[in-house]
C-alpha cells in the first residue's frame, strides 16, 4: 500500500515506526460511513445504535443552532445535531422539513443523540493499517484533535474517522446556561 502523505518530513519516520507497530496487530473494523458537506466521515459501527428516518423535530429554545431539535425515536427524546453546520461545512441550517433525512442514533451510557445525514449511510470494513492517526492535518481546521481518531484511506477515498463520544463529552456542546 502507498505511504501516507505526511506534511512534515520530520515526522515521517515516527509515523513509519508507528505503522510498523500497527502491522503486527492489524485488525479489521466496521465503519458506518456518511457524507457531510461532500466529504466522507466514519464512525465505528458499535457507536451507532441504529439509522432511522428523521422524525419531525421539536425545536428546543436556548440551544446552539446546530442542535436542530428534539425527536421521538422509539419513545425516547433525543437531540438531533447538524454536524455540517457545527463543522462549518455549510452555512445553512438543514431544513429537515423540506427533504427526507436520516439520523444516526449514537448511544452510550451517558449520551443518546442523533446525527443528521442527507444520504443513506453505508457500512465499510477497513483494516487498521489503513488508518493514519496523525493529527497534523487537523491543525488548521476547526475540528478539535480529540474528536478525530484519524483518517482512513481506502483506495482513493479519504474517510475522516470521528470520535463522536469524545466530541460530545467535550465542553464544546455545552449550552447557554
Amino acid at each position: 500500500m502507498s505511504q501516507p502523505i505526511v506534511n512534515d518530513p520530520l515526522h515521517g519516520q515516527s509515523t513509519d515506526a508507528m505503522k510498523g507497530n500497527a502491522n503486527k496487530q492489524s485488525t479489521r473494523s466496521q465503519l458506518i460511513v456518511f457524507k457531510l458537506g461532500g466529504e466522507e466521515y466514519g464512525l465505528p459501527i458499535d457507536q451507532v445504535k441504529e439509522v432511522v428516518l428523521t422524525p419531525r423535530l421539536a425545536p428546543v429554545p436556548h440551544t446552539p443552532e446546530y442542535i436542530l431539535g428534539a425527536a421521538n425515536i422509539r419513545g425516547s427524546v433525543i437531540a438531533i445535531m447538524d454536524l455540517e453546520h457545527k463543522f462549518h461545512l455549510s452555512d445553512q441550517i438543514a431544513n429537515v422539513k423540506a427533504q427526507e433525512h436520516y439520523s444516526l442514533v449514537i448511544e452510550n451510557e451517558k449520551f443518546k443523540v442523533g446525527v443528521l445525514v442527507k444520504e443513506v449511510p453505508n457500512t465499510l470494513s477497513i483494516d487498521s493499517e489503513d488508518i493514519d492517526d496523525s493529527k497534523e492535518v487537523l491543525q488548521f481546521s476547526s475540528l478539535k484533535e480529540e474528536c478525530v481518531r484519524g483518517i482512513a484511506k481506502v483506495g482513493d477515498r479519504m474517510i475522516i474517522l470521528l470520535d463522536i463520544i469524545a466530541m460530545l463529552q467535550m465542553d464544546d456542546v455545552t449550552l447557554g446556561s
Binding site: A58, S76, S177
Partner: protein
C-alpha cells in the same frame, strides 16, 4: 396483626433471607482465606444491620444472635486475630441458626437458639482483652455474676466509630438488660446440660441442607423504569389509535384497550409505591442521636405512615427529610429548662405526618418548639444582602420566612455538629422542586413550626396544561399553574424593559414566552422584552398562563392554550438536559415531542439573572 406490620415483617424476612445468604457466602470465603478483610468487614456490616432491623421489629432471637456475631467480628476487625476452627464452626452454626430463625418468622415454629448464642457469647468473652477475660479463664461455664460486666461491653461496642458519638440511651440499654435477664436461665441451661446442645446440633443438621426461597422478588429499579417507559409508549400508541378513528368505529375494542392499558400503567406504577412509614421509622434513631447531642428531650410521633408514595421520590427526599428533622430538633425544640420556663412539658414533640389529597402527597415535619421569628430571619437576610432594608420592611410574614430557603442562608448562630453548615434549606427546596413538589413553612413564635412538602405521588405521571408557541406544543405542570386569563394590549404596561399587568388586583410581571425563549440565548440584561408586545395588534386578545410560585404570580403569554392532560414526563438526555427552560419532555398522541417547562428553574436561573442585572444597572447608573 395489623396489615402494615405484616408487610414490614414480610419485607424484613425477604431482606434477612438475602442477608443470610450473603453471610453463608462470606463465611465460605472466610474459610478459604481467614485474612479476607473484605469478608470480615462485610459480615460485621451485615450482622449489624440484621441486628438493628430485627430489634426494630422486636424479633429478639435474631437480634441476639446477630448481636453476638457482630461483637465477635468487631473484635476480629479491631485486633486482626485469626479465627480458631472451633470458633469458626460455632459461627457457622450461628449463621445456620439465623437461617432457621428467619425461616420461622411467620410459621411461629419454635427454634431453640439460646445454646448457640451462649456458646458464641462465651467465645466472644474469650477473645476480649485479658483483664476482662481473666474472670472466667478458669472454666468455660459462665457464672451469672459476670453478666453486668458483659452487658457493659455489649453496650460499649454498640456505639460504633463510624457514627456520631452517642451516649448509651435508656431504651437501648433497657433492651440489653432485658436480654441479660433472659440470659440467666439460659446460662443455667448450658451449664447444666451439654446434651441439650447436642440435640440442637442434630436439629441443625436436619434443616441446614434445605434450600428455601423467599416469596419476594428483588427487581432492580432500572427494570421497572424500563417497563414504565414501555407503558408510556403503549399509551401514546393507544392515543394515536384513538385519534385516528372516526366516531362509532369499534368503540368497544378501544374502550377495552383503554382499560387494559390504564390498569397496566397503574399496576406498574403501584409496584414502585412504598409506604412513607419505611422512611419515617428510620427517624427514631436520628431523633434520638440529635436529641442526645443537643441535650434535649424529644419524642417522635408518626402519623399517616400507610400513605403510599413513589419509592424514587422518597429516595430523592431522604436527605432533605433528615435535614428537616434535625433542624426541628436542634433549632425548633427548646432545651428542657427553657421549655419548663415557658410552661411547656420538658419533652418536646416532633411529628412526621403524611396525608394525601387527590394526587398530591403531603409530608409534614411538625415541632412544638419555639417557632421561627421572621424578624430575625429578615435581619439575617438583610445582613447577607439577600434583600435591601427598604424592600424587606414591606414584606409579609410569609415572604420573610421564605428567605430560609435562599442559598447560603443559615439560621444557626454557631456551627454545630448537627446543623448549620450554611447548606440546607435551599437544598431541601431544590430537591423538592426537582420532582415537581413544593416546600412551604408555617411558624408561630412559641408554638412551633410546620415544614410542609407537597409532593406528586408518582413521578411518572403528572397533570399538565398543554399550549402552543410557534406551532410547537409545550406543557407546563399543573402544580404551578394558577389560572388562565385573557388580556388585551391595553392591559399590559411597559415597565423598564419588561411588562406589567395585574391579576386579582395585584401587580404581576408578564412575559411573552417567545421573548423569554429568545432572551435565554444571550442572557443580555438589556434584552428588550417588548418585542411580543410591539408586534401585538390593538384589540387583539392574548392568552396568559398565570404561574404561581412562592406566593408570587407571573404571567406567561402563549400563542394558544390547548387541553389539560396527564403526561408521562421523560427526562432529557445529554446535551438537552442542560437547557434551563425545560425539565423534560413527553410524547404526544401524534408522536410529537412536547417539552415541559421547568418553572422553578426558569424563575431561579433565567429571571433571577435578569433581576440581578437590573439591580446592577441601577447601581452603576
Amino acid at each position: 396483626m395489623k396489615e402494615k406490620e405484616k408487610e414490614y415483617l414480610e419485607l424484613f424476612k425477604a431482606e434477612a433471607h438475602d442477608q443470610f445468604e450473603q453471610l453463608n457466602r462470606l463465611f465460605t470465603a472466610l474459610e478459604a482465606n481467614s485474612d479476607d478483610k473484605e469478608a470480615i468487614d462485610a459480615i460485621f456490616r451485615i450482622t449489624h444491620t440484621l441486628k438493628g432491623n430485627s430489634m426494630g421489629l422486636g424479633i429478639q432471637s435474631i437480634a441476639e444472635i446477630s448481636h453476638v456475631m457482630e461483637d465477635i467480628f468487631g473484635e476480629i476487625k479491631k485486633k486482626k486475630f485469626s479465627l480458631s476452627s472451633e470458633l469458626f464452626s460455632n459461627l457457622y452454626r450461628g449463621v445456620d441458626k439465623l437461617g432457621q430463625l428467619i425461616q420461622a418468622i411467620n410459621t411461629d415454629e419454635k427454634v431453640s437458639y439460646k445454646g448457640i448464642r451462649t456458646k458464641l457469647q462465651v467465645a466472644f468473652r474469650k477473645i476480649l482483652p485479658e483483664e476482662e477475660a481473666t474472670d472466667d479463664s478458669g472454666s468455660a461455664v459462665v457464672v451469672p455474676a459476670d453478666l453486668p460486666n458483659a452487658a457493659e461491653t455489649i453496650v460499649a461496642t454498640e456505639s460504633e466509630p463510624a457514627e456520631a458519638p452517642v451516649a448509651p440511651e435508656d431504651s437501648l440499654s433497657a433492651t440489653e438488660e432485658q436480654a441479660v435477664q433472659e440470659e440467666a436461665p439460659a446460662m443455667e441451661e448450658t451449664a447444666a446440660t451439654e446434651s441439650q446442645e447436642a440435640e440442637e446440633v442434630e436439629d441443625d443438621l436436619s434443616t441446614v441442607s434445605d434450600i428455601s426461597f423467599s416469596d419476594f422478588v428483588n427487581v432492580p429499579i432500572k427494570k421497572l423504569d424500563g417497563l414504565i417507559d414501555l407503558v408510556g409508549e403503549l399509551l401514546i400508541e393507544k392515543d394515536s389509535l384513538a385519534a385516528g378513528r372516526k366516531d362509532g368505529q369499534r368503540n368497544n375494542e378501544l374502550a377495552l384497550l383503554h382499560r387494559i392499558t390504564s390498569d397496566l400503567q397503574y399496576g406498574i406504577m403501584g409496584i414502585r409505591l412504598v409506604q412513607v412509614g419505611f422512611m419515617f421509622h428510620k427517624f427514631h434513631r436520628i431523633i434520638r442521636d440529635v436529641a442526645t447531642i443537643e441535650q434535649k428531650e424529644v419524642s417522635l410521633n408518626l402519623e399517616g405512615t400507610e400513605i403510599e408514595i413513589d419509592r424514587n421520590i422518597l429516595k430523592i427526599l431522604s436527605d432533605s427529610m433528615v435535614h428537616l428533622v434535625r433542624n426541628a430538633v436542634s433549632h425548633g425544640i427548646e432545651s428542657p429548662a427553657q421549655r419548663r420556663a415557658s410552661g411547656k412539658s420538658t419533652r418536646g414533640n416532633v411529628t412526621l405526618r403524611a396525608f394525601n389529597e387527590k394526587d398530591t402527597v403531603f409530608i409534614e415535619v411538625v415541632d412544638d418548639g419555639q417557632g421561627i421569628n421572621e424578624e430575625v430571619i429578615l435581619k439575617k437576610a438583610i445582613e447577607k444582602r439577600l434583600v435591601s432594608e427598604e424592600i424587606g420592611k414591606g414584606l409579609s410574614k410569609d415572604e420573610k420566612l421564605q428567605f430560609i430557603f435562599e442559598p447560603g442562608f443559615s439560621n444557626a448562630e454557631k456551627i454545630t455538629e448537627v446543623s448549620g453548615r450554611g447548606v440546607g434549606m435551599d437544598v431541601v427546596k431544590r430537591a423538592t422542586e426537582s420532582i415537581g413538589g413544593r416546600v412551604s413553612v408555617q411558624s408561630e413564635i412559641g408554638k412551633g413550626t410546620v415544614m410542609q412538602l407537597a409532593l406528586p405521588s408518582s413521578m411518572a405521571l403528572k397533570g399538565a396544561l398543554l399550549f402552543q408557541m410557534d406551532r410547537q406544543t409545550y406543557a407546563v405542570p399543573l402544580s404551578y399553574t394558577e389560572a388562565v386569563i385573557s388580556l388585551h394590549k391595553k392591559d399590559l404596561h411597559k415597565i423598564s424593559n419588561g411588562l406589567m399587568s395585574s391579576y386579582l388586583d395585584r401587580p404581576m410581571s408578564v412575559f411573552f414566552l417567545k421573548d423569554l425563549f429568545q432572551y435565554g440565548k444571550t442572557m443580555d440584561t438589556s434584552f428588550d422584552f417588548h418585542q411580543g408586545f410591539n408586534a401585538l395588534k390593538k384589540g387583539e386578545k392574548i392568552e396568559v398562563l398565570v404561574i404561581s410560585y412562592q406566593n408570587t404570580y407571573l404571567g406567561f403569554i402563549v400563542d394558544k392554550l390547548l387541553q389539560q392532560k396527564e403526561i408521562v414526563e421523560k427526562t432529557l438526555s445529554k446535551p438537552l438536559d442542560q437547557v434551563p427552560l425545560f425539565s423534560g419532555a413527553t410524547i404526544l398522541g401524534n408522536g410529537q415531542v412536547c417539552l415541559v417547562l421547568d418553572i422553578p428553574n426558569i424563575i431561579r436561573k433565567v429571571l433571577k439573572n435578569k433581576r440581578r442585572g437590573q439591580e446592577h444597572e441601577y447601581i452603576t447608573n
